[in-house]
């Protein structure tokens, strides 16, 4: 277990550096001068040159990259061009909203998907199983830019139960969380069902039943534990994507999270902020997946032993 955790942690640094390098390269390939966008068309050439110098944009690309990495290593992500504030502070102000939305979506998806997946597997071929598979397919297929406004129309406009958009209390959280959770739940239902069906066919489950273990125990304790390993792995990927900012959902629901911030930063060609956002997102993604890997090792200790 400890070895698995150490292995995963040592992979963190090269992964993050790789992500940052790619983003740095792609961002600088984009057309449009961030300084001209910031100062407007009428800026004096001397002011444009001055700001470019101040931001280090007049240096060779390699020098800019090394400078960014060196500053990032010290925790200095630079100054946001659009927000005129330290990038770290701008991101820190938005991250709680993303965390809140991601946590709510995750809880909803898990609370819905795992029981439904288990029931579908246990009652394979029944009407419930067919309905669960259909519902999960619909959940996976509905795009959030369509589902979000549809939910708003129904629950906010027609029924008047929930606010349309914005961040406030739990009521504001409901629609964006459900929009995000539905897609994730669809994947998890199918995965839980498939994994559990595979586990139920294993010898150790038959042995448990032959030794007199009741059906709920064979399913809930013996089979489900093993069936959850792929579910946790996929959950880690999904949770990482949520923390990376559900860009569309956050935009549709005017949710002031990191996804919306990233879009704003890209539109303003705010290089320092885009880089900072991507770094924060990369770190979150890798951290969540590391936790998921370790958790999978807890559920199935064999993962730590054989070095997988």
């Amino acid at each position: 277990m400890r070895a698995l955790a150490i292995r995963r942690l040592t992979l963190l640094l090269p992964t993050v550096i790789g992500v940052v390098t790619l983003v740095f390269a792609f961002l600088h390939l984009l057309p449009g001068d961030p300084v001209e966008i910031m100062l407007g068309e009428w800026a004096a050439p001397a002011d444009v040159a001055g700001l470019r110098r101040e931001l280090g944009l007049d240096r060779p690309l390699a020098a800019q990259y090394v400078r960014f990495l060196a500053h990032a290593a010290r925790g200095d992500l630079g100054h946001s061009i659009a927000f005129r504030a330290p990038v770290g502070r701008v991101i820190a102000a938005r991250y709680p909203a993303t965390l809140e939305l991601a946590a709510a979506a995750l809880v909803l998806a898990l609370a819905f998907a795992v029981p439904l997946g288990v029931l579908a597997a246990v009652r394979r071929g029944s009407a419930l199983d067919r309905s669960a598979r259909l519902a999960s397919l619909v959940g996976v297929c509905l795009p959030s830019f369509w589902l979000g406004p549809l939910l708003m129309l129904w629950f906010s406009i027609r029924l008047g139960w929930l606010p349309v958009s914005g961040r406030g209390g739990l009521a504001h959280l409901a629609l964006p969380a459900v929009t995000l959770a539905l897609g994730m739940a669809g994947i998890l239902v199918r995965l839980t069902r498939a994994s559990l069906l595979a586990a139920l066919g294993e010898d150790y489950v038959r042995t448990a039943r032959a030794k007199g273990a009741p059906r709920w125990r064979a399913v809930g304790v013996h089979a489900l534990r093993n069936a959850l390993v792929p579910v946790v792995t996929v959950l880690g990927l999904q949770a990482g994507a949520l923390l990376a900012g559900a860009v569309i959902t956050e935009t549709v629901f005017s949710w002031p999270g990191i996804g919306r911030l990233l879009v704003q930063a890209i539109q303003a060609r705010d290089y320092p902020l885009v880089q900072g956002c991507v770094l924060a997102i990369g770190l979150s993604y890798v951290a969540v997946n590391t936790v998921a890997d370790v958790l999978a090792g807890v559920i199935d200790p064999r993962l730590g032993e054989d070095g997988r």
């Binding site: 057309p31 100062l39 800026a43 700001l51």
Partner: protein, 494 residues
């Protein structure tokens, strides 16, 4: 969902405080600091937070604001006499020292204000007494008054490097959660009547559908960015909402790159102009929420010269192209192809499709390329385009003709993105800058407009109407043609 809604109803869905007006913006203003503000949403709020020496009226004329009156003892000197009753929210009077400090800060290269260029002709700002400001120019420059709309900051804060939003406007900024909302409260010291709306909340709602749904639900009370025509029609059926249309000044046009030898030929430009059915475009693309345009200045502008809108005459357009030597290789084949660049805005995309069809009818094949705004802007600035749909928003002084059409004003010096060259236009637009008498200036710009209507360096399309959707409870609000929100100072909620 029902359970969640039932459990949480009232938990976070608290309505805005009584008396609050919620206005939805599509994006955050980039800056509320008059020294740095250059974006459209920032400009819409500038008039609420700060006052300038002068401001533009609906006809584009400079009218008094902080300055009660002004005079010109000579063509290089402006003397402004200030009103004594303007105060910052803390009760401190706005004096000539504040004006001088604000202007000097903007002129200081160390601050790197984007507005420094607009004040390039200003050589000195003096404050001989608290109620008098003297501005000296390096040369006679008639459009200078346009730069006197700069919002005045307290002298002590004028050189702060951070964002300064304090002003003597009708409102003050109470809180700002970037990307979420701005909260404005009345300035208790505002001399022209303390606003009754308390507070004004500016909510950032990027998605257009959501802005419309928020209006329908009552979470937003006012939207000034015209939604899609179909949505406006739907909102007009909601009893609690009022849809108001008024003539606007935003000018939408097709930019032509005259560096391209085909577009350098005036006959080709005229053919493109004649091929477009403006009435049809306005009806199809904007649901009749616009007026076919004759040029940059709308009829409400003081310098507008009446002109006949370009005709729709595809037959003559084909003849012109024939005469210019552009014939298809065989019947039905295109005469030539043009690349049309546009932003991803739905209205602009629909326009591109319509233009593609109408130019196709005269034998010009059009390849439409849709770009994100930053990319389109960079391409247009660098001359990397053939056709592009663009707009001029918030036109005040007609000196824009110099900036957009003088041969020396190709980017980065100015806005002459199509590289139009005309000695007549150069001479007239230069004269317009140096002429102070309004009647003579007007005559000069009338000639400029006729010249451009003949040369067609751009193809005029329409002036967009202002479409404002508001709650019927909002009274006393007069939308401005430019879209600024100054009208909220006199408004109240029933």
């Amino acid at each position: 969902m029902a359970v969640l809604g039932g459990l949480t109803g009232g938990c976070g869905d608290a309505p805005p405080p009584a008396g609050a007006l919620v206005v939805a913006f599509d994006s955050d203003p980039q800056s509320l600091d008059p020294r740095f503000q250059t974006d459209a949403n920032g400009a819409r709020l500038a008039g609420l937070l700060q006052v300038g020496l002068t401001r533009a009226d609906a006809a584009g004329r400079r009218v008094p604001e902080l300055a009660r009156t002004w005079e010109m003892p000579d063509p290089r000197t402006f003397v402004f006499h200030l009103r004594p009753d303007f105060r910052f929210p803390d009760g401190t009077a706005v004096t000539a020292a504040d004006v001088r400090s604000t202007y000097e800060a903007v002129r200081d290269p160390a601050l790197a204000s984007p507005k420094r260029t607009a004040l390039a002709v200003l050589s000195a700002v003096e404050a001989p007494d608290p109620a008098t400001v003297v501005m000296r120019l390096t040369e006679p420059f008639a459009p200078f008054l346009d730069a006197t709309g700069l919002g005045i900051l307290p002298a002590a804060r004028a050189r702060d490097t951070g964002e300064v939003t304090i002003g003597a406007g009708p409102f003050q900024l109470v809180s700002a959660e970037r990307g979420e909302q701005l909260v404005l409260a009345p300035n208790p010291a505002y001399p022209d009547g303390v606003p009754k709306l308390h507070p004004v909340i500016i909510r950032i709602v990027p998605d257009e559908t959501v802005r419309v749904l928020e209006l329908r639900r009552g979470g937003v009370h006012l939207v000034e960015d015209a939604p899609e025509p179909e949505m406006v029609a739907w909102l007009a059926t909601v009893p609690t909402l009022l849809v108001r249309r008024s003539p606007g000044t935003s000018f939408v046009y097709l930019a032509l790159n005259l560096r391209d030898p085909r577009l350098a030929d005036r006959r080709v430009r005229e053919a493109i102009t004649l091929a477009l059915d403006r009435e049809g475009l306005v009806r199809f693309v904007l649901g009749d929420a616009a007026r076919p345009a004759t040029g940059l200045l709308a009829p409400e502008h003081w310098a507008y010269a009446p002109a006949r809108p370009p005709r729709h005459d595809p037959r003559r357009a084909r003849r012109l192209l024939d005469r210019a030597g552009y014939r298809g290789a065989r019947p039905g084949a295109p005469r030539f192809r043009l690349v049309y660049k546009t932003s991803a805005q739905p209205v602009r995309r629909r326009l591109a499709e319509a233009v593609q069809t109408e130019l196709g009818a005269i034998g010009i094949a059009v390849d439409v390329r849709v770009y994100e705004w930053g990319t389109l802007y960079a391409d247009v600035r660098s001359g990397n385009f053939e056709l592009a749909s663009l707009a001029w928003v918030g036109v005040t002084d007609p000196d824009l003709y110099y900036l957009a059409f003088h041969s020396t004003m190709t980017p980065p010096a100015g806005y002459n993105r199509g590289a139009y060259v005309s000695r007549v236009t150069d001479r007239l637009t230069t004269a317009g800058r140096q002429t102070f008498a309004p009647a003579r200036r007007r005559a000069i710009y009338a000639r400029v407009q006729h010249r451009l209507a003949h040369d067609l360096p751009v193809v005029p399309l329409w002036w967009e109407d202002r479409v404002v959707v508001q709650t019927r409870r909002l009274r006393g609000f007069e939308p401005s043609p430019s879209g600024d929100l100054r009208g909220l100072a006199a408004a109240y909620l029933d």
